[in-house]
């Protein structure tokens, strides 16, 4: 056992306070002591934070890293005015099916490393570019090598070969594909949106997953309001993601339930959609998370600091609220209480910023401010 002391922390972000001149000890991956730098205990190793700010590692609860292929041209044409449509997903499906396990794993491994370098210490990874029993199962088995937070998203979009038999595809997703995917997945997710799956189909799919012991998540409200949010709350989903378009009753449902609203500002940035109104959700008492939605179509960022900067500029969040959403909010969206906050007993997933305050994540947009990642 090696206890490590981090001292001379200029600002330590704890759940209920921001502690100046702080220190922290961790041991075997868990935080064992928090206090003032002047009264720090001895330890086996020491990291001098030199006045820097220390925050919890980011918890990025929404990513689509199991993919192959390239959609650079689609981005360029979208920026030139073409509208974003969910159907673009199918081009990635073709490339993903054609890729070897080694390619898929190496691609995803690179993105997880890139995220970590930007301060993300927990990442969720979805399947959803395989859309055959074999390809969904192998995507999840490979993702499981990178994170315990794996999500079965067979219901990402209806693949071309089922275009005339959506009911048949839902049967597959809730039948043989679920059987093959479930051993490698913690969560089940569905893209409940025009062009993907409707509310009835989403209910069938999530209910089948829950019956298999998977936790429920949902994509809803990306392109328009639907009944997806209500369904997510009704089924006790851990999170409903996007929430760009919400009705008043969606807000009421979220406020009354336990489902986290996960906002994905990278999507709005990269598709020129209007941003979700985080202020409205926070004012209603909804728990909000921020995530990157890293994927080659609608949001190819892996940068939680970038998402925080956009959330502060364009979504009505204060820097403190945005940081909380990117850490504790993400933990809530994964129903985890061991990550996302700096507290004794929690995992020592920590980021030392090259800045005196976490405010700089929004104040200095685009600047790589992650000095060191622990955990």
């Amino acid at each position: 056992m090696t206890a490590t002391l981090i001292d001379n922390i200029g600002l330590l972000v704890e759940p209920e306070r921001e502690r100046p001149n702080a220190a922290l000890v961790y041991d075997a991956g868990l935080i064992s002591w928090i206090g003032d730098s002047s009264s720090a205990p001895a330890a086996d190793a020491r990291i001098d934070a030199d006045g820097r700010c220390v925050i919890p590692g980011f918890v990025d609860t929404h990513s689509h890293l199991m993919f192959a292929g390239d959609r650079t041209d689609e981005f360029v044409s979208r920026m030139a005015g073409r509208k974003y449509e969910a159907g673009g997903i199918r081009s990635t499906v073709t490339a993903t099916r054609a890729a070897s396990d080694e390619e898929l794993l190496s691609n995803a491994t690179r993105f997880v490393a890139e995220m970590r370098a930007q301060g993300t210490t927990t990442v969720e990874i979805k399947s959803g570019y395989g859309l055959t029993t074999l390809d969904e199962a192998r995507s999840l088995a490979l993702a499981r090598r990178l994170t315990p937070e794996t999500t079965y998203l067979g219901a990402h979009v209806v693949p071309l070969e089922y275009a005339d038999d959506v009911a048949g595809y839902v049967e597959l997703v809730t039948g043989a594909m679920l059987d093959a995917a479930a051993p490698h997945a913690k969560w089940i997710d569905v893209f409940c949106e025009a062009g993907a799956f409707d509310v009835d189909q989403a209910r069938t799919i999530l209910t089948a997953g829950i019956a298999r012991g998977l936790g429920a998540r949902m994509h809803a409200g990306q392109l328009g309001a639907s009944g997806g949010v209500r369904l997510a709350v009704e089924l006790g989903a851990a999170s409903v993601d996007h929430c760009t378009f919400l009705s008043e009753s969606d807000i009421d449902d979220l406020a009354a339930g336990s489902t986290v609203a996960t906002l994905l500002p990278g999507v709005e940035f990269s598709t020129r959609q209007p941003y979700p109104d985080a202020r409205r959700l926070l004012a209603a008492g909804v728990t909000v998370a921020l995530a990157c939605d890293c994927n080659p179509g609608s949001s190819f960022t892996s940068s939680m600091p970038f998402c925080i900067a956009v959330a502060v500029r364009d979504m009505g969040m204060t820097p403190a609220e945005a940081l909380r959403a990117a850490t504790a909010g993400g933990a809530a969206a994964l129903q985890r209480d061991d990550i996302g906050t700096i507290a004794v007993g929690n995992r020592a997933d920590l980021v030392i910023l090259d800045a005196p305050s976490y405010v700089h994540l929004a104040y200095r947009p685009g600047v790589p401010l992650v000095s060191r990642v622990i955990g």
Copy 2:
């Protein structure tokens, strides 16, 4: 002399073409050969670009790095709704005057290194937080240790001690302060905006600088349209910076003249102002540059990739136009022809991106994609 070969370049961005499978040789800091990777000559050293994209180093022509003090709280209150005003500059003036030479130089050195890590190989640095003869001169003398592109900005804002005697301050700026600053400066700049200096004052100041052999630059159109742009063109200024608010006749003047329009999207991002319309300028045939305007008040980013991403999303530029503005456009704004483009004889200021295309600078916002900086 050591010739270095970079081969296996996936995409090399030259002024008139994008060359796939390219190679390049540089020697004594200058590019000596460009061609196909398969026909690359031998060299003393070799860098394998491994399919990555190589672009010119960024030319960031607008920064205010000679400062001390902290304005984090001002940013937080602005994000909470307070309007940006030029007067906030004065708080930095107080801190800068109080700082030692060592503090000022160490602060600026850190930012130049931060910029370089993000691909910026040429940076302009302004004075303008001293606003006394002594403090402007020492700011420029210190800046000159970091870059030849130093700009005397005694006319940044009227300091408090001259609040009731603006004419007296203009006399100082064009007299004793200019005498002390000129030996350390290549350029003279003025903030021509309500709350700072009007068009007549700006004319007096720039004319005095030009008479001393300095090149002219100007801040105009940040907070509203004024006669600043016309004056800049009339005086043959190298660049007029901000250009957020432009009249039709401003566009005509810029199109008819040789002055570059330098756009600073970090300012609009961090002050929630509307973005400048780069498309309108490009359509009129105006040369456009992009710069960070790194300063602790209105734009604390040092990230040219971030500015490119915002320019593509919000200012109507294609990824290729934004890259050109951040490189060749910047070179034009400094009246330099040895930087900003990859061509034989030019400086070997190069960035190897961790991406197959420069499009990724916009496609992957916030992600640190600079793999290696040369030059």
